[in-house]
């Protein structure tokens, strides 16, 4: 062992510059990174630069970066395109409604779970409520379309047999697109998101509750005056992040729910990019739309992160 260290020492003397010494010492770590780093360049950064296609004309077979500069032509085009503005409106409407209706649910759920007396029951509820998070969107939509089926679905049978109404084709009716999107999202993610709030509730000092109890606070008052204020920072961070992701809806779910009949409300920016780009092969035009929403998303997320950092000293990254 002593011999080995000596040999290292002599080598270290020979490698004069500190950088050389550093590389000699840690070359194995650098070697490990080569493949993953190459992965990031190839699959994350080259497509990022591929966005340059938004300013260039694409010709089949002549590479993914297009052939000649056309400047802002495609941007001007979609700014005049009513289909783009419809998609933009739909994206914002769906996102905002989604936040308004689903954001409070995990908070309420976490607080209620915490108030359960039976530890076993709490555990069962918790475990089962995570499960929908791991179910494929395809399965969620397939199950929904069977439950909502106009001929044999549970809901329509209830409406017809018990409420004596006419059956409704929910999945095809534009009026129900947003409620179905929001409800299925709540079904899938309420339990999962509640984990973050539960962790935050667990961290509350129990002396606070004891003090509140001595002051005569009942349980509802304890929730209102101890639990909620204590998890408020977490709620704020989550809300800010949610707003930062305003433009990135569950694209796959919308695509699965999309029908020509409900396109008036279900066409969002991502589905528009998908249709113009991949179905109609207007690559440059679709890239321009995608880049536009990507940049807005970048601005939203990074400012959301900055706000959350300045408010709580804690960002996501």
């Amino acid at each position: 062992m002593i011999f080995k260290e000596k040999r290292n020492e002599t080598l270290q003397i020979r490698l004069r510059s500190p950088l050389q010494r550093h590389l000699f010492r840690y070359w194995q770590l650098y070697l490990m990174m080569i493949l993953p780093f190459f992965y990031f360049i190839l699959f994350k950064y080259i497509p990022m630069f591929g966005n340059i296609l938004a300013f260039r004309r694409y010709r089949p077979g002549l590479g993914p970066f297009g052939t000649e500069w056309v400047g802002l032509r495609y941007f001007k085009m979609f700014f005049k395109d009513p289909a783009f503005w419809r998609a933009f409106r739909n994206t914002l409407t769906l996102s905002v409604l989604n936040i308004v209706f689903t954001f409070p649910l995990p908070i309420i759920f976490a607080i209620m779970l915490n108030e359960l007396r039976s530890r076993n029951f709490k555990k069962i509820v918790q475990t089962i409520s995570y499960m929908p998070r791991f179910i494929s969107t395809v399965v969620v939509i397939a199950i929904l379309s069977e439950i909502l089926s106009p001929s044999s679905g549970l809901l329509n049978r209830f409406l017809v047999d018990v409420m004596h109404k006419t059956p409704t084709y929910f999945m095809n009716d534009p009026q129900y697109f947003r409620p179905i999107y929001i409800f299925s999202g709540a079904w899938q993610f309420t339990g999962w998101t509640a984990i973050i709030y539960l962790a935050s509730i667990t961290g509350i000092n129990s002396e606070l509750y004891e003090a509140a109890e001595i002051d005569g606070a009942n349980r509802f008052q304890q929730i209102w005056n101890v639990t909620l204020p204590s998890i408020l920072p977490t709620i704020m961070v989550m809300l800010i992040l949610e707003v930062g992701r305003l433009l990135s809806l569950g694209f796959e779910k919308v695509l699965l729910m999309y029908t020509p009949a409900n396109s008036e409300v279900s066409d969002i920016i991502d589905t528009l990019v998908y249709r113009t780009g991949l179905a109609n092969q207007n690559y440059s035009y679709a890239t321009a739309i995608g880049l536009f929403s990507g940049i807005i998303g970048l601005i939203l997320v990074s400012s959301a992160n900055r706000i959350s950092r300045s408010l709580t000293g804690d960002g996501i990254y």
Partner: protein
């Protein structure tokens, strides 16, 4: 956790209300699956007459024996198993190889590499540039198109980096002095200490590959379709499950029990493994809360 000592009547009423809401939540989570199982085990006639709710009517296994005769279903199921196993294995190796060096903040360039990872979470290439890249490097139409581009998820990478950072460094330093390089330390010391974290991100990857359908849709040909895409296509009606020519009166209703059987079989691995794995699922959120 707050210990509830209050035994007043209002507190008891509060308890009952919470209990009811939680029970409702449980039912809401479970009922869709119960309904699917009931449909898949019922006869076409019972479904058509609207008799099936949460219990199979005229119990039979016809739907299951049917889907197992469809070559398309079998092939898609096999494909999905392949994508999940190979995809998860590659993803784990790549993620470990990047997470370990990135957990060493004394490494020169550490800041740069971390920034490379984090910036790619904020801004990405978008659908079209990604699609054109995959086709220009010749992956379109090969199985690798839905495996390689998803080899590292930044979220999982950060979980693992934070986990590695939290490991005690003493054993590692001792091993370095003994002349075991990082190539030896990673498999012999670090990985055995990290089984919980690796199981967690491995499960996230496996669920991702199992549930993926969109990438299959845009990159693959029909024989390579994963089972989720098969399911989506039969729900959409763009793919015929079995033999299209044998259209009888109850084909549509047979379709419903068949669809339900596909839904159940394609979700089965997750439902069966779920009780055993759920503790790992949750660990991911607590082990390496997303912070850099």
């Amino acid at each position: 956790m707050a210990k509830v000592k209050d035994t007043s009547i209002s507190s008891r009423i509060f308890d009952v209300m919470i209990w009811l809401v939680m029970a409702f939540m449980l039912i809401i989570c479970v009922v869709p699956f119960v309904y699917m199982i009931a449909l898949s085990l019922s006869s076409a006639k019972a479904i058509i007459n609207g008799k099936v709710s949460f219990w199979p009517v005229e119990l039979n296994l016809e739907a299951y024996s049917k889907i197992f005769t469809y070559p398309n279903f079998f092939r898609a199921y096999g494909n999905t198993i392949f994508y999940t196993v190979v995809g998860t294995a590659i993803a784990l190796v790549m993620t470990i190889l990047f997470a370990y060096p990135l957990s060493k903040s004394y490494l020169k360039g550490h800041g740069f590499f971390t920034k490379v990872v984090i910036f790619s979470m904020y801004f990405s290439g978008g659908l079209i540039p990604n699609y054109l890249l995959i086709s220009s490097i010749g992956l379109t139409g090969t199985r690798w198109a839905i495996i390689l581009p998803f080899a590292i998820s930044q979220f999982n990478l950060i979980i693992l980096i934070n986990f590695f950072k939290a490991l005690p460094t003493e054993i590692e330093e001792a091993a370095l002095i003994d002349g075991i390089g990082y190539f030896g330390i990673l498999p012999r010391i670090i990985l055995p200490l990290s089984t919980a974290a690796i199981a967690t991100i491995g499960l996230y990857y496996a669920v991702f590959f199992w549930n993926d359908w969109f990438n299959g849709l845009i990159y693959l040909n029909t024989p390579q379709y994963p089972v989720m895409l098969f399911l989506r296509n039969i729900v959409n009606g763009t793919m015929v499950v079995g033999n299209a020519s044998s259209a009888s009166a109850d084909t549509a209703m047979l379709g419903i029990s068949t669809k339900s059987a596909v839904i159940i079989t394609s979700t089965l691995p997750i439902i069966i493994l779920y009780p055993f794995l759920q503790k790992y699922f949750v660990k991911g959120l607590t082990v390496g809360s997303v912070k850099g």
